[in-house]
Amino acid sequence: MISNRIQIFRTDRGLSRKELAALVDVNPQTIGFLERGSYTPSVELALQLARVFGVSVEAVFSLEPFPPLAAQIGAPASPPKGDTP
């Protein structure tokens, strides 16, 4: 099972499903399937999506589940090295 952040990146870029679908040349329904994790894209489509978002493919797709966004935002900054006794 591959996790993805397509919905987060899409809303961040202000794109509708239809607009994103047109950019990567798929049916808008396919974007819905991808966002729900109901369909795993080919390498080509994954690379196209990452290119549209302007990030690496690893930023969009992961073999492990992504941590919740709230946890990432609320997580305290890790202390600099050497501060710990």
Partner: protein, 166 residues
């Protein structure tokens, strides 16, 4: 934002050439087509050659069912679901290719199951009652199978369709 180069033609059915039915309409057509034709076959199978008013009414009912089933089949065959079921790889996206292949495989499984069932039923009827299918029964069964083969892939795609939200 970097836009990728388009890799293939847009995966949309040309609206001018195909009937763009909603998911529910296509589902209703599929039930109407396969249901009417199955009932028509069953009715023709049970009808006897003896003349009478009841037989005449049943003959008319069989004719109406046959016509309704064929019209529904043709409408479904002209729909965008049929386009997706029969489109070459270049005209649909990769998920639709996977769905199309699954729909055809499911249709193939269904038709093989129906053929096997018909064969077993015919064998049992012959062994138990000495009944042998007439030319008319075989012709009606083949008609049913032809229409089922034409409409099943599109019907399966209509039932799998998750709607506009995908």
């Amino acid at each position: 934002m970097n836009a990728p180069a388009p890799s293939k033609a847009p995966s949309k059915a040309p609206s001018t050439a195909y009937l763009n039915f909603s998911r529910n309409t296509a589902r209703a057509l599929s039930v109407g087509a396969l249901g009417s034709l199955s009932l028509w076959f069953a009715l023709k199978f049970l009808l006897t050659e003896e003349p009478g008013p009841q037989q005449a009414v049943l003959q008319i009912a069989a004719g109406v069912l046959s016509l309704a089933g064929m019209v529904a089949s043709v409408l479904l065959f002209l729909s965008t679901y049929s386009f997706r079921a029969n489109a070459p790889d270049a005209q649909i996206d990769e998920r639709e290719v996977v769905e199309r292949n699954r729909a055809y495989f499911r249709a193939y499984q269904t038709l093989v199951f129906v053929l096997l069932l018909a064969y077993i039923v015919a064998e049992v009827l012959e062994k138990a009652f000495g009944w042998v299918p007439t030319r008319g029964v075989v012709a009606n069964f083949l008609t049913l199978l032809i229409f089922a083969a034409l409409t099943l892939p599109a019907a399966i795609l209509a039932w799998w369709d998750a709607g506009d939200e995908g």
